[in-house]
C-alpha cells in the first residue's frame, strides 16, 4: 500500500488555484477530481475538505464563484480564478519553485560538498 501524504491547507489552496488556472471555470467536484488525478491518488484528502478552502480563497478575492449547470444538468457552483488569484498563483509558484530548488540542492549534495 502506497503511503499517502498529509496535505497542508496552504498547499491545497495552491493546488486549487493551479487547477483553476489550467482548466478555467470548474465546480467543486471537478476540482477535487482533478487534484486526485494529477497527484495520482497519493494525497489523502477527504474531498469535503476542499469546500472551506474554496470559501477562504473566495473571501480573499483569489477566486470568484457563480451558479451554473453541471454535466448532469444540476445546479452547481462554478469557481474561476480572478486577476488577484492569478497574481497570487504566480507569486506562490515562484516561492514553491525556489523552495523546491533549495531543498533539491540539499538532497543532491554529497558528503564531499560539505568539506
Amino acid at each position: 500500500m502506497k503511503e499517502k501524504a498529509d496535505v497542508l491547507q496552504g498547499t491545497l489552496a495552491l493546488m486549487v488555484l493551479k487547477t483553476l488556472n489550467v482548466l478555467g471555470s470548474l465546480h467543486g467536484y471537478g476540482i477535487a477530481r482533478r487534484i486526485e488525478q494529477i497527484s495520482g491518488d497519493l494525497l489523502s484528502v477527504n474531498q469535503g475538505t476542499l469546500y472551506p478552502v474554496l470559501l477562504k480563497l473566495e473571501q480573499e478575492g483569489s477566486i470568484a464563484s457563480e451558479w451554473g449547470a453541471s454535466e448532469n444538468n444540476r445546479r452547481a457552483r462554478f469557481y474561476r480564478l480572478t486577476r488577484d488569484g492569478r497574481k497570487q498563483l504566480q507569486a506562490e509558484t515562484r516561492g514553491w519553485e525556489q523552495t523546491a530548488a533549495i531543498i533539491g540542492r540539499f538532497f543532491a549534495a554529497k558528503a564531499e560538498d560539505f568539506q
Binding site: G28, Y29, R33, Y51, S70
Partner: protein, 922 residues
C-alpha cells in the same frame, strides 16, 4: 491587505448565515451526486456508489463546522453569545445588577466629573487657531502691575513702551500681542439708555490681539491695529456672552455707542461664542478695548501692566526668540538708564526673561487650582478603587453561588478560557452600563461643583467651563469603565476557572470555611485601608478648614455689611470724593438700626491690597534686599470702630485728621514688631516709596487683622492705615500727588446696633438718596465676604468628606457581605461547636474575631498611607499639622465602629443558629 479584505468579506458573509448554509448544502449534494454517478459508471451498484461517495467526501458535520468557522467571525460570534448570555443572567438578578451599576456609576461618575474639571482647567488649550504656535512671556502668571526698571526672578510684565520695542524688533514672532494683566470692572451704560451704569469686566488689548489668536468676529468685526492708534475713534468688541445674555443677540448693538467709565466707545463686533480671551477665569472680559484708549499707564515706560502672547513663525524656535528678546530687554533697559533708581541699576545684570508655551493662555487658574484638582482626582480614584473592590466582592459571591453550575459546565467540557471570557464579558457589560450611568452623574456633579466653586456673577454664567462631556471626557469615562471592568472582573473570572468540578459537585455544604474566601478577605482589607486614607484626608481638610474659619481675624464679622460701589461710574471727579464720602456716611448712619458707617479702599479679605516700600525715620533707606514691602489701606474716620478692629495703643483715624493737619498713620502690631523692635512706635515717623522717611507720624497701633487673601498659613504681616482726607505729594519740585487713585474708596462698611435688622433694600435706598446714579456693584455681609474666601477649601473639604463617607459605607457593605457569607458557610461548624457546649457569646466572638482581624490588617496597611496622604495634602492644610493624631484617631474609631456595626448583624444571626437544625441540614 488580503487579511483585511478577508475580514470584511467575513463580516459580510457572517450576516448572510442561512443563505450560506443552503449554499454549502447544495454544493455537497451536487458533489455527492457527481461522485455517485462516477462510481456507477465504473460499475458499482447505486447504493454502494452512494456509500463510497459519502465515504470519500469525509465527515460532513466536521466539514460543515470547519466551513462555518472559515465563513464567519468566531470571536465576534462568541462575544455576542457571551453578551447575550450575560445580559440574560443580569436580567435574572435585577437587585444585583441595579446595585452594581449604581455603585459603579457613583465611582465612575465622580472620577469623570473631576476629570471634566481637570481637562478644562489643566489640559485644554484656548479655543483659538493653532494654539501650539503661541508663546507667552513669563514662566508664572503675575498680577497686575510692576513699577520701575527691574523685576524679581524674571521680567514678565511689560510697559506699553517695552511692548512696542519687543513687537518692532523681534523677528521670530509672526504677531506679538499685548493685553492688560488685570481685567477691571467698567461702569457700562448704553448710550441713550435710561438704566443705571452696570459693572462689566473689560480688558485693554493691542490692535493685533485677535489677529494673533486667529479669531474672527461672530458678528461685525474685531479690533485691528488701526483702532489701536492715538486719535483713532474709540471702538470696542463685546463678548458673545454679554451680547447673548444681556442684549438678546440684538444686531443693533453693533455700531451703537456704549459709555465705559463715562467714555464713549462704538461696539464694532461680537467675539465668537467659545472665545473667552487670553485667560481662563471666573469672570472673563465682556469688552475688549484697544490699548490706545487706556490713558493712565499707557505712556509710562516704567509701569509694567501688560502680558504678552505671540504667534511664532513656523520656521523659528522659541529658544532663539527668547535669546533675541533677552538682548532686546537689556538694550531697552539701558536706553532708560537715566531714569533708573539705584536699586534698579543694581539689579540690572540679573534681569532676564523667559518664554513659555502660550497655547493655554495665561494659566493663573491652572496654577491656582492644580493642586486641588490633583487631590480631588486622587480622592475619586480611591473611591473608584473601593467601588471596584465592592463590586468584585459581589461578583465573587455570585461566582461562588454558581460553583455548581460552573462545575457542571466544566464537566461537560467547557473550556476554562471560555468560562473566563464569559465572566469578563459580564463584568465589562456591568462596568459599561455603570459608565453610561456615571456620565449622567458626572454631568450633574460637574454642574454642581462649578456652581459652588464659581457662583454665577451678576446673574450671568461665570467661568467658561462647560459641564457637558466633551470628546476627551467621553473617552475618559469609557477608559475608566473598561479599566474598572477589568479591575473588578479579573479576580472573579480567575476564580470561576479554578473550580474543581468534582469538589463542587460533591456539594457546597461540604466545603470548608477556608476555601474561596481569601480573595474576598483581601478585598475587604484593601477597602478598609483605602477608606481609612479617605476618612483621615477628609478629617484633615475639615479640621484645617475649621482652623481657617475660626481663627482670630482681628476684626468683628457680626452685624457688619460691606457695600461695594464706584463713584467714578456716576461721573464723580477725585476732588468731589471727600464730600461724597461724608454724605454717604451721614445718609447710611441715619438708617434706623445702623450704628455707624465708614469707607476704605479694601475691606478685610475683599481680595486685593495696595503695597508700598516703607522707609522708617532713623533707619537706613531700604535696599533691594530689605524686606520693607508692606500692605496699606486708606480709610475714613471711625473705620476701626466700624470694622471692630481694636486700637491697642494711641488712637485710630479721626475727624481731626484733615487735609491740612499733620499726616498720620495707624500701624498694626506686626508693623510695630518689624520696624520698631524695642522702641515705642507712637510719635515716630515713616514714609512710603520715594516720599522720604518723614511722611507720616504714627498715632496708633491696631490689633493685627487679616486683610490679605493669601498666605493663610503665615502670621499676619505688617500693615498701615492712612486717613482718606490727607493727600500725599512727592517731595520733588513739581509736587505731584502720589497714588491719587488711592482716594477712590470703594468699600463701605456698615455696623448695625445689636438686635437691629437691616435689609439691603434700606441700604440701596439710603445710597440712592445720596445720588440715584451711584452704581452699587454688590452688597454682602462681612461674614459672607469672609466665608467666600474659603469657598474652595470648603468645597474640597465637603467633597472629600462626601467621598470619605461614601467609601466608609461601601467598605461597611463589603465587610457585612464577607462576614455574613463566612458565617453562613460555617453554619455546620457553629452547629457542632454549640452542640459541644459553646454558648452564644462564644459564637459572636468567633465571628467578630474574624471580622476584626480583617479590619486590623486594613489599619496596618492604611495607617502609613494616611501619613502619605497628609504629606500630599501638604500646603492645602494652611499650616495645619499634616499628622494630626486626633484626626487619625477619629478616623480609626469611625472605621472600627462601622466595621463593628457591619459584622454584628451576621454575628448575632449566627448565634441564633439551632445546633439541631444546623446539623440536620448536613
Amino acid at each position: 491587505m488580503r487579511a483585511l479584505r478577508r475580514f470584511f468579506n467575513r463580516l459580510i458573509f457572517w450576516t448572510k448565515v442561512q443563505q450560506d448554509e443552503d449554499r454549502l448544502q447544495a454544493e455537497i449534494e451536487e458533489h455527492l451526486a457527481l461522485q455517485t454517478a462516477e462510481n456507477v459508471r465504473v460499475g458499482l451498484s447505486p447504493t454502494e456508489a452512494r456509500r463510497q461517495a459519502v465515504l470519500k467526501f469525509g465527515a460532513v458535520e466536521s466539514i460543515r463546522e470547519d466551513y462555518r468557522a472559515q465563513k464567519g467571525l468566531p470571536f465576534l460570534e462568541t462575544l455576542i453569545q457571551d453578551t447575550r448570555y450575560a445580559l440574560r443572567r443580569l436580567r435574572k438578578s435585577p437587585a444585583f445588577t441595579i446595585t452594581t451599576v449604581l455603585t459603579l456609576a457613583l465611582g465612575i461618575g465622580a472620577t469623570t466629573s473631576i476629570f471634566t474639571l481637570v481637562h478644562a482647567v489643566i489640559m485644554r488649550s484656548l479655543p483659538v487657531a493653532n494654539p501650539a504656535e503661541l508663546y507667552r512671556l513669563g514662566k508664572e502668571s503675575r498680577c497686575c502691575y510692576w513699577g520701575g526698571y527691574s523685576q524679581n526672578e524674571e521680567f514678565s510684565l511689560v510697559s506699553y513702551d517695552l511692548y512696542k520695542y519687543f513687537r518692532d524688533n523681534t523677528k521670530g514672532f509672526a504677531e506679538l500681542a499685548a493685553f492688560g494683566a488685570s481685567c477691571d470692572l467698567f461702569g457700562v451704560r448704553r448710550s441713550g439708555g435710561s438704566e443705571a451704569a452696570q459693572g462689566y469686566p473689560g480688558e485693554f488689548v493691542s490692535g493685533n490681539y485677535f489677529r494673533m489668536f486667529g479669531v474672527s468676529a461672530h458678528a461685525g468685526r474685531v479690533l485691528t491695529p488701526s483702532d489701536d492708534r492715538a486719535g483713532a475713534p474709540p471702538v470696542a468688541v463685546m463678548s458673545y456672552r454679554l451680547w447673548e445674555q444681556r442684549y438678546a443677540s440684538d444686531q443693533s448693538v453693533i455700531g451703537s455707542v456704549f459709555n465705559l467709565d463715562d467714555k464713549p466707545f462704538t461696539v464694532v463686533g461680537i467675539t465668537p461664542p467659545g472665545f473667552f480671551g487670553d485667560t481662563l477665569r471666573n469672570d472673563p472680559p465682556d469688552f475688549f478695548l484697544p490699548l490706545a484708549a487706556e490713558n493712565d499707564d499707557l505712556n509710562k515706560p516704567d509701569t509694567h501692566w501688560l502680558d504678552l502672547i505671540g504667534r511664532i513663525r513656523p520656521s523659528t524656535g522659541p529658544a532663539s526668540i527668547e535669546a533675541e528678546m533677552r538682548v532686546e530687554l537689556k538694550q531697552w533697559l539701558r536706553s532708560h538708564w537715566g531714569e533708573m533708581i539705584a536699586n534698579d541699576r543694581a539689579k540690572f545684570p540679573e534681569q532676564t526673561l523667559y518664554l513659555s508655551p502660550g497655547g493655554a493662555g495665561i494659566t493663573s487658574m491652572r496654577e491656582q487650582y492644580q493642586h486641588w484638582l490633583q487631590i480631588l482626582m486622587m480622592v475619586t480614584a480611591l473611591v473608584l478603587l473601593i467601588v471596584c473592590a465592592n463590586v468584585a466582592n459581589l461578583i465573587l459571591v455570585r461566582g461562588l453561588e454558581r460553583r455548581r453550575q460552573t462545575a457542571l459546565n466544566m464537566a461537560l467540557g467547557a473550556q476554562a478560557s471560555r468560562l473566563v471570557r464569559q465572566a469578563l464579558t459580564e463584568s465589562m457589560l456591568l462596568s459599561l452600563l455603570g459608565g453610561a450611568a456615571g456620565l449622567a452623574i458626572a454631568f450633574a456633579g460637574t454642574r454642581l461643583i462649578l456652581h459652588y466653586a464659581f457662583p454665577p456673577f451678576r446673574g450671568m454664567t461665570g467661568v467658561p467651563i462647560s459641564a457637558s462631556p466633551s470628546m476627551p471626557v467621553l473617552l475618559f469615562a469609557f477608559a475608566a469603565s473598561l479599566v474598572t471592568g477589568i479591575g473588578f472582573g479579573v479576580a472573579p473570572a480567575w476564580m470561576a476557572a479554578r473550580v474543581d468540578p468534582i469538589e463542587a459537585l460533591r456539594g457546597a455544604s461540604r466545603s470548608t470555611a477556608r476555601t474561596g474566601s481569601l480573595p474576598r478577605k483581601t478585598l475587604v482589607v484593601f477597602q478598609a485601608a483605602l477608606s481609612l486614607v479617605l476618612l483621615s484626608a477628609s478629617g484633615l481638610l475639615t479640621a484645617a478648614l475649621y482652623h481657617l474659619e475660626t481663627q482670630d481675624f482681628g476684626f468683628d464679622q457680626e452685624r457688619r455689611i460691606v457695600v461695594n460701589f464706584d463713584p467714578r461710574l456716576a461721573g464723580y471727579r477725585p476732588e468731589q470724593f471727600t464730600p461724597l464720602y461724608q454724605r454717604i456716611r451721614d445718609s447710611l448712619s441715619s438708617i434706623p438700626g445702623v450704628s455707624a458707617a465708614a469707607l476704605c479702599i479694601y475691606s478685610p479679605l475683599s481680595g486685593n491690597n495696595w503695597g508700598a516700600v516703607v522707609w522708617v525715620d532713623g533707619h537706613p533707606h531700604p535696599g533691594p534686599k530689605d524686606e520693607a514691602f508692606v500692605s496699606w489701606d486708606r480709610v475714613t474716620q471711625g473705620y476701626f470702630h466700624v470694622i471692630g478692629n481694636p486700637i491697642i495703643r494711641g488712637r485710630g483715624i479721626s475727624e481731626q485728621d484733615t487735609a491740612s493737619s499733620r499726616h498720620v498713620a495707624v500701624i498694626n502690631e506686626a508693623f510695630a514688631r518689624k520696624f520698631f523692635k524695642n522702641e515705642d512706635p507712637i510719635g515716630r515717623q515713616f514714609g512710603r516709596d520715594e516720599m522720604g522717611a518723614r511722611q507720616y507720624e504714627v498715632v496708633g497701633i491696631a490689633k493685627d487683622a487679616r486683610y490679605l487673601t493669601f498666605g493663610f498659613d503665615q502670621p499676619i504681616g505688617p500693615f498701615f492705615f492712612l486717613p482718606e482726607a490727607q493727600h500725599d505729594f512727592s517731595p520733588n519740585a513739581e509736587q505731584t500727588e502720589v497714588s491719587p487713585s488711592s482716594h477712590l474708596l470703594h468699600d463701605i462698611v456698615i455696623v448695625t446696633r445689636p438686635g437691629a435688622s437691616l435689609r439691603f433694600a434700606q441700604v440701596r435706598q439710603a445710597m440712592a438718596s445720596v445720588d440715584p446714579n451711584l452704581p452699587i456693584v454688590w452688597i454682602r455681609t462681612l461674614k459672607e465676604q469672609v466665608a467666600g474666601q474659603f469657598r474652595q477649601q470648603r468645597l474640597i473639604a465637603r467633597l472629600t468628606s462626601f467621598f470619605g463617607v461614601l467609601s466608609l459605607v461601601l467598605a461597611s457593605i463589603g465587610m457585612y457581605g464577607v462576614t455574613a457569607y463566612n458565617a453562613g458557610r460555617r453554619v455546620n461548624e457553629i452547629g457542632v461547636r454549640m452542640a459541644l457546649g459553646a454558648d452564644r457569646g462564644h459564637v459572636i466572638a468567633l465571628i467578630l474575631r474574624g471580622a476584626f482581624a480583617l479590619i486590623l490588617f486594613g489599619l496596618l496597611i492604611g495607617l502609613p498611607l494616611t501619613f502619605a496622604a497628609g504629606r500630599f495634602l501638604g500646603s492645602q492644610l494652611y499650616g495645619f499639622n499634616t499628622y494630626d493624631p486626633l484626626v487619625t484617631f477619629v478616623a480609626v474609631v469611625t472605621l472600627g465602629l462601622s466595621a463593628l456595626a457591619a459584622s454584628l448583624i451576621p454575628a448575632f444571626r449566627a448565634s441564633f443558629i439551632s445546633p439541631l437544625e444546623a446539623l440536620r441540614a448536613e
